[in-house]
Amino acid sequence: MKPAFSVLFFTVTSGIGYGLLMWLVAMQLISGQVGELQNFLMVGFIGLTLATLGLLSSTLHLANPKNAWRAFSRFRTSWLSREGVFSLLYYPVILIYAYVLYANGGELTLVLKVIGAVSLLIALATVICTGMIYASLKPIRQWHNPLVTPLYLLFSVTSGALAYTMLSLALEASLSPLATSAFVILLFISLLMKIIYFKSIGKPEGSTIGSATGFTQAQVRLLDAGHNADTFLTKEFVFDAGAMKLLRLRWLMIILLFIVPLLLVVATYMFDVAPAVYFAMVSLYFGLFIERWLFFAEARHVVRLYHGDQRA
């Protein structure tokens, strides 16, 4: 699949935004303390801005955006519709939470805790829906994989934990030990899961040119695709980055997304080098971009079989 920048930016940025907001609310619910209201509003604003920027960018790849409002209408069947509904539903819930918290001067009442918990669930649901949009597509076996949705969720929560750590260091000059250690643990889990994912998509399986054409017991070879220029199908689905480039990018992704942030966060925590955590965030962001780029570039739609590929 051809990686479109607007979709990469959307999934990465809104993933971080929702992750950050989840951590912000979760930390208040866990500790029962709100801390500085000013800081809460600041972090909340940043998280909501990131999520909104991502969502706005996702409308950029629409060919007919004037009908985008209709996208909320098929909640019962479409994951894209569900994502739209949850992302929109999140705004009133988190804004009510922030407003009520601000209005009673930072006191966490039971009602507020319930609203906070609801906002957490909606944010989780939004990210899960993003993952399910891809995981529900049967013609792309690299996406129709049980690890795709957990990975989307993990990367959102992990990057959110780092963003929370970074912002709490910037605003309160102290690291939250819970968020920091959670980040390290989540990073290890996502690395492990990503490696298992790479292993599982490496196995040759699924449709072949034989099952695509019906000639399951013969050798099939494309002679003529029927067109001598690009078509919508070749432009949308045929994307070859080259095996060597993909492999190099996998390593670059592992370095930028896992190794560098881990070392920098440990350095921040153990040796008190505060700026390191900012570089960790930058490295993680670029790492996530490469991860998302690879997610598209390595996905092979079965339509490619009709254009000459031997297997999916």
Binding site: R74, S136, P204, T213, Q217, Q219, L233, E236
Partner: protein, 282 residues
């Protein structure tokens, strides 16, 4: 009703008449226009609802290097490669129901049996059409009364998700209008009572010079499409994905082997005639 097409891979000659007739009809039909970008330029591109691809289909054992690449090919077929020159093209799907197979091109030199197959593809009007369920706007829908999958051009937002969900490449975005286009099974022809009854068929079916395309109701066991599917072992493509495509493809028929022409001895009289003709012509 379950309307759909049967496409005969035995008789299709790959002339692209179905594709051009489809484009001609539908560009001014209910979902039209089907726009083209840069149509006379270097890299023309446009929306087509029908595409024809050509494949070489040959015995798996013919090229050991290629056979090795495809692990799913049964190795026991290799024994019959030189002897009977037969291989069951659709044997996996039709096991137990039909023994349709076609004899490969026999050759005195033992060249592999192979055949050129033209494969026209349009929307399969799937029973479990994921293109419909993934659509967030409700633009894509499958009609309950006849099973035709359609796109409401006024509701589509052009997100491309339905084209990603389609394994058959049946949906193409119209870049000019920003909405998705797909085969309508010529819904604006087949129910048009102003047309003579023989013309109430999709444009691709009417235009096919070899009658390789047949249109009809798969729910009706006496219809041409049902009969052909049973008689010839018609098959849906990529059944493993579970979309339950309606359209059926008929495998190439078992053809009589053409014997190699032996050099015949010419009688003396015809030799004389030939010589006389040559002399007179001079």
């Amino acid at each position: 009703m379950k309307l759909g097409l049967v496409i005969d891979l035995d008789t299709c000659v790959g002339c692209h008449a179905c594709a051009t007739a489809c484009k001609q009809w539908n560009t001014s039909g209910t979902i039209g226009p089907l726009s083209d970008q840069n149509p006379y330029g270097k890299n023309p591109i446009g929306s087509w609802l029908n595409r024809i691809r050509t494949y070489e289909v040959k015995e798996p054992s013919a090229d050991p290097k290629l056979s090795k690449a495809d692990q799913r090919l049964p190795s026991d077929n290799q024994e019959s490669s030189c002897g009977s020159q037969q291989f069951d093209l659709y044997a996996l799907a039709t096991k137990g129901e039909s023994t349709l197979s076609f004899a490969g091109i026999n050759s005195a030199t033992g060249a592999p049996a192979s055949k050129t197959v033209h494969m026209p593809m349009s929307c399969m009007q799937c029973e479990d059409a994921d293109c419909v369920t993934v659509c967030p706007t409700g633009a894509s829908y499958k009609r309950a009364e006849d099973g035709i999958v359609l796109i409401d051009q006024d509701k589509c937002m052009g997100c491309n998700l339905c084209s990603w969900a389609c394994p058959y490449g049946a949906r193409e975005l119209d870049e000019e209008q920003g909405v998705m286009k797909k085969c309508t099974l010529c819904v604006d022809r087949i129910y048009d009572e102003k047309l003579p009854e023989s013309e109430r068929q999709p444009a691709c079916v009417l235009s096919c010079p070899t009658s390789s395309r047949v249109f009809g109701d798969f729910d009706d066991p006496s219809s041409d499409v049902s009969r052909l599917t049973i008689e010839r072992g018609g098959k849906g493509l990529m059944p493993e994905l579970g979309y339950k495509p309606t359209n059926r493809y008929l495998p190439p028929r078992e053809t009589a082997q053409v014997p190699a022409m032996a050099k015949t001895k010419q009688p003396a009289l015809s030799k004389l005639k030939k010589w006389a003709n040559r002399v007179i012509a001079r």
